[in-house]
Amino acid sequence: MKIDWFTVIAQVLNFLILVGLLWRFLYKPILKAIDEREKKIVARLADAEAKKTEANKEQEEFKQKNEAFDKERKALLDKAVAESEDERKKLLEQARKDAASLTAKLDAASKEAQENLNHEIAQKTRQQVFAITRKALTDLASAGLEEQSANMFIGRLHGLKEEEKRQFVDAFKSNSNPILVRSAFDLPEKQQNEIKDAVNRILSAAPQFQFKTNPELISGIELSANGYKLAWSISEYLNSLEKSIPVMEKEISETLPPKK
C-alpha cells in the first residue's frame, strides 16, 4: 500500500510519452482520415446531387425532345396520310374521268359508226330508189309522154308569175345567143312552134332557138339562156327531191333528243 515515488515519477513520464506516441500514431492519422473521408463524402454527396440535377435536367430535356419528335412524327404521318388520300382521290378522279371520256369516245364512235352506217344505207337506198325510178320512168317514156311533157312545159311558160317573167325577160334580153331548148326526145314541129310562140309572147320578141335532145332529162324539157333555166322534167323533180332529203334528215336529227 505504499507509494513508490520513483515509480510515480516514471509512470507520469511514461504516461506523457504514451500521450505523445498515441497522438502521433493514433489520434492524428485517424482524425485526419476521418476528416478526409467526411470531406470526400460531402464532395461525393454534392457531386451526386449535381449529377442528379444534371440527370433530371437531361431527362427533362430528353422527354421534351421525345415529345417534340413524337409530335413531328405524328404530323408527318398525318400529312403523308392526307397526301396519299388526296393522291388516291385525285387518281380515282382521273381514272373516273378517263373512263368517262373513253366511254364517251366509245359512245361517240359507235354512234358515229351507226350514223355512218345509217347514212350509207339511206344513201344507197336513195340511190337505188332513184335509179329504179329513173329506170322505170325512162322505160315508160315515149313520144306520147313527151308530148304531154311539152304541153306541161308550155302550160308552165304561160303560167309564169310576174316576178319569174321579169327574171326570164331580163335574162333573155341581155343575151344574143340563141335560146337552148333541150328535151329527151326530138320535139315535133308543132310543139317547137308552140314553145317558140309562148316564149315570143313573154319576151315580145323573136329570138333564135336551138333544139337539142338529151335522154337524161327523162321525158322533160329544159330551156336555158345566160344561166337562167326554166325546166319541167321528171329528172328535175327527182333532183329536187334528192336535194331536199339531206335537209330533211338534218332537221329530223336536230329535233330528236341526242342519244345517250
Partner: protein
C-alpha cells in the same frame, strides 16, 4: 502475498528501481503504440476501409463524442490526454484475462501518477484556454473565503481518483487470488469476468472524471462571472 506489482523488483539502484509495474506499463505502451502504428500505416480515406481501421475509428470517434458530451466543444484538443488515459487504463485492466498478469493500475504508484497527471492537466488546460489570471481567479469564486475549500477540493479529488482506481483493481485481483485458494474451480472465473467489467467501468469513470475536471477548469461558470461583472461595476 504481494498486494502491488511494485513489490516485484527486477533491478534496483538506490532510488531507482525497475519493478513489475514499470515493465508491464512499457509492455502496454508498446502494444498500444505498435498496434496503432501498424493499423494507421495503411489508412484509407475511401468509402471502404479495413476492419481494424474501422475499430480504431469507432474508438476515437466514441471518445470524441464522450468528451463532447461532457461539454468540451473542441474534443480534438483533449483527446490526446483523455483518450490515452482511457485506452491505457482500459488495456491495463482488460489484460487481466491473461494468467500471471498483474495490472499496473493495481499499483497505487501508477494510479497516483495518473491522478497527478490529471491534477496537472486541469490547470494546464484551464490556463491555456482562459489565461492564467482568469484561471487563478476561479479559485476565489464565489468569494475569497472559498479559496481553501477550492484547494482542498482539488487535492481531495485527485486523491480520490488515485485511490478509487487502485482500490477497485487491487481488490479485484485480491478477490481472485483469495478465491483461488478457497474454491479453485469455476467461481474465480466468474469473479475474473466481473473484474473485467469493473476494469472497463473504472477506466470510463477515471476518464470521464478527468474530462469533467478539465471542462470545469476550461469553462467559467456563467453565473459567477456575471456576479463578478456586477461587483466590479459597483
Amino acid at each position: 502475498m504481494k498486494l502491488s506489482p511494485d513489490q516485484t523488483i527486477f533491478w534496483s539502484y538506490g532510488f531507482f528501481n525497475i519493478n513489475l509495474t514499470l515493465v508491464t506499463t512499457w509492455g502496454i505502451m508498446l502494444l498500444l503504440v505498435l498496434t496503432s502504428a501498424i493499423i494507421t500505416r495503411k489508412l484509407k480515406t475511401d468509402m471502404h476501409i479495413s476492419r481494424w481501421q474501422c475499430i480504431l475509428e469507432m474508438v476515437v470517434t466514441g471518445i470524441n463524442s464522450e468528451i463532447k458530451g461532457v461539454g468540451l466543444d473542441s474534443p480534438q484538443l483533449y483527446i490526446g490526454f483523455i483518450g490515452t488515459m482511457f485506452l491505457f487504463i482500459a488495456t491495463a485492466n482488460v489484460l487481466i484475462v491473461f494468467p500471471y498478469y498483474q495490472a499496473p493500475t493495481g499499483s497505487l504508484s501508477t494510479t497516483t501518477a495518473l491522478a497527478i497527471s490529471v491534477f496537472l492537466a486541469v490547470p494546464f488546460f484551464g490556463i491555456k484556454q482562459r489565461g492564467i489570471g482568469t484561471y487563478l481567479k476561479s479559485y476565489l469564486q464565489p468569494t475569497f473565503i472559498m479559496l481553501p475549500f477550492n484547494l482542498i477540493s482539488e487535492l481531495s479529488r485527485t486523491l480520490a481518483l488515485a485511490v478509487r482506481l487502485f482500490g477497485n483493481i487491487m481488490s479485484g485481483g485480491m478477490i481472485v487470488a483469495i478465491l483461488l485458494s478457497i474454491t479453485p474451480f469455476i467461481f474465480p472465473i466468474v469473479m475474473q469476468a466481473l473484474g473485467l467489467l469493473i476494469g472497463m467501468v473504472q477506466a470510463y469513470i477515471f476518464s470521464i472524471l478527468a474530462t469533467v475536471y478539465i471542462a470545469a477548469a476550461v469553462q467559467a461558470p456563467p453565473k459567477n462571472s456575471d456576479k463578478k461583472d456586477l461587483v466590479t461595476k459597483k
